[in-house]
């Protein structure tokens, strides 16, 4: 079936809610279909008890979810823009992430936190952050994302079925992109990357909003006879090290691309790790193409200077070959 990214989210939620009465959704405007439309029609189908509008209270959204998850429910919380998770940060990192461990393995927190990720929308500094790096650094959390309708449907289903807290990043600027989505999805463990393009010369590892940028760059480079392999990680914790290493052993070159600022971004972890494992196999140091180390500015000219696009990615690849 052909679905937009946002309808693919709705589809995943519908499937999960239909399959398991423990699944419910909560968040700001979620009952009215969501600020960006990802939960449209859910309340009609499943009722207001399972599709819950909340006040503007991110600590409560996450905290209630933690308590409900510990009680055997499978909450799916929506954080409208990921930037706002800062309000509920304690409940994410000090509670959800640590409950199981602090309590000696006796708690389970099967919680999914869907985060709208801005950027590329001219929404300025407080509505444009892709904050995966905070959460990949917190043991106890899983972190996943997707760039296509097909993938977000799968990732969300897998996240909701996971018995651990999972942060899912949904790039809002991809919400309208449409694509084929399989009729059914078989739930599997999070963690497998998807090789979006096979290639022999350079490996590009990316996730989320920059996946289409990398693919566009790879197309251009193909014209220049540079053959890129584009790996979409989909899951950051855990991440598919074998897939990446396998590719790097062939191409001997790696570029990591992400929307978030470079300094301290998750790209650094991948670069460090791959270098630890494939130091002798690398022809060049791992290159990183990321957001510049500034807040995201408002004006289109400024924002597109700061955030990575196909041009910059292609340039970085050229520099390696």
């Amino acid at each position: 079936m052909r679905l937009s990214y946002s309808k693919a989210i709705t589809r995943a939620l519908e499937e999960a809610m239909a399959a398991d009465a423990a699944v419910f959704c909560l968040g700001e405007d979620v009952g009215y279909g969501g600020a960006y439309g990802a939960t449209q029609s859910l309340r009609d189908r499943f009722g207001a008890a399972r599709v819950r509008d909340t006040p503007i209270s991110e600590s409560a959204i996450v905290g209630f979810s933690v308590g409900a998850a510990m009680s055997g429910m499978r909450p799916v919380a929506e954080i409208m823009h990921m930037d706002f998770i800062a309000i509920g940060m304690d409940q994410v990192v000090n509670q959800a992430a640590k409950m199981r461990y602090m309590f000696g393995g006796k708690a389970r927190v099967p919680l999914t936190i869907r985060c709208g990720v801005g950027g590329y929308l001219n929404a300025a500094a407080q509505h444009s952050q892709s904050l995966e790096a905070w959460f990949t650094h917190v043991p106890g959390l899983k972190v996943a994302t997707a760039a296509t309708p097909r993938d977000i449907r799968a990732v969300l289903r897998d996240a909701i079925a996971d018995d651990n807290p999972v942060i899912v990043l949904e790039p809002l600027s991809l919400y309208e992109v449409a694509d084929d989505v399989p009729e059914t999805h078989e739930v599997r463990a999070l963690g497998a990357a998807d090789i979006k393009r096979r290639g022999e010369d350079v490996t590009i590892v990316t996730w989320g909003r920059t996946v289409p940028e990398c693919l566009a760059a790879a197309e251009r480079l193909a014209d220049e006879r540079i053959d890129c392999e584009v790996i979409d990680l989909l899951s950051l914790v855990p991440w598919d090290e074998p897939a990446v290493l396998g590719s790097v052993w062939r191409t001997n070159n790696l570029v990591v691309v992400h929307q978030a600022p470079r300094r301290g971004g998750f790209g650094a972890e991948i670069a460090a790790r791959v270098t630890e494992r494939a130091f002798r196999e690398l022809d060049n140091p791992v290159a990183r193409v990321c957001g510049l180390d500034t807040p995201v500015p408002f004006a289109p000219k400024l924002e597109s200077y700061v955030l990575p696009g196909a041009d910059r990615i292609a340039q970085a690849v050229r520099r390696l070959s």
């Binding site: 929308l121 408002f298 004006a299």
Partner: protein
């Protein structure tokens, strides 16, 4: 006698001035909606139309040196506090001459020089910041007052609570102005809290609270003046709830499935500008001629500001790298 006569004259002058200020906001907002629809402006727009009496009534009770923090729905506050309209529009256009050099846009318009500590994209984000400005005033022994504007929805968020409690404990010169416009995004106030009046929350902090008609600019100004006077005299903070209604969707483009046109139309009968205009006429303070002159001035000012904003240059992309720190340079693309 002559004192009260002066006060009357003063009141009359204030009402006319407030009307003109409200008209300026209304015309700026109406104009920019049109421009936004024509895709002249990037980003998101949250319209202040229908709520003008609050910003204007409150700012009328302030001095130039006083501080305000604003919200995502901030245009009215900026204009009411005296923000320059040309640079305001230039900012919405993302131009180098914008108040924030195009880095902020609608959700972050600011002008620190005249005490506008900025629109804020985080609900409730400006609330502790206003209290911090008030703390600075208290520490320095200045008699500045700070005002935090916020929506009804913001009164549910944690930092609101922490701020009001601590501002009360420290007796800070700050006024918390709640613009209860009936909705937080798509949900009604009755769906996000269970109390009749938001001002009741003041009791939880041992602070005075008051609810006024937020469409009546004089009521707003008077209540604000009382709160500001208390703050200036060292008597601490106040929670002032102004009841109003959001005419437009939450953001431009909002399909608004959560309400009827009839409801909106009913509230339009209580247009704060209409109410004020009627009052001005009743008191013999204005007639068609003088009102027409006001609107002419306002339209001219807005049109000039738009013209400036449109024609002033785009920012240099590389300017994105500055203003992160006062001192450190940020690395450019290799």
């Amino acid at each position: 006698m002559s004192g009260s006569h002066d006060a009357e004259g003063d009141n009359a002058g204030q009402l006319i001035a407030m009307y003109e200020r409200m008209a300026l906001i209304r015309d700026a907002e109406t104009t920019l909606l049109r421009l936004f629809e024509q895709a002249e402006m990037p980003g998101f727009i949250h319209s202040y139309i229908g709520e003008e009496a609050i910003a204007v009534g409150v700012c009328q009770a302030l001095r130039g040196s006083d501080i305000v923090t604003s919200t995502h729905r901030g245009h009215g506050h900026i204009i009411a506090k005296g923000g320059d309209l040309r640079h305001f529009f230039a900012e919405l256009y993302g131009k180098a001459e914008g108040t924030c050099k195009g880095k902020g846009g609608s959700m972050h318009v600011a002008d620190l020089a005249i005490g506008i500590y900025g629109a804020n994209g985080i609900v409730g984000g400006g609330v502790p910041i206003a209290a911090g400005a008030a703390l600075a005033a208290q520490l320095r022994g200045s008699d500045q007052v700070a005002v935090a504007f916020m929506g009804d929805g913001a009164t549910d968020i944690g930092p609101f609570h922490e701020t009001l409690n601590l501002a009360a404990v420290w007796g800070l010169p700050v006024v918390f102005v709640v613009e209860n416009n009936g909705f937080a995004d798509f949900i009604r106030v009755s769906e996000h809290q269970k109390i009749a009046h938001i001002a009741e929350r003041a009791g939880a902090y041992g602070m005075p609270g008051e609810t006024v008609d937020g469409n009546d600019v004089e009521q707003v100004r008077e209540a604000a003046a009382r709160a500001v006077a208390r703050a200036r005299q060292g008597e601490g903070p106040t929670l002032l709830e102004c009841v109003t209604y959001r005419w437009r969707g939450h953001y431009e483009g909002d399909p608004q499935p959560y309400r009827t046109q009839a409801e909106v139309d009913a509230w339009k009968q209580r247009d704060p500008l209409l109410l004020t205009e009627r009052r001005l006429r009743e008191r013999g303070l204005a007639d068609d001629g003088s009102l027409g002159a006001i609107w002419e001035r306002v339209r001219l000012e807005v049109a000039e500001a738009v013209e400036f904003a449109r024609t002033t240059p785009e920012p240099d992309p590389v300017s994105a790298l500055t203003d992160v720190y006062t001192d450190l340079a940020v690395e450019d693309w290799p």
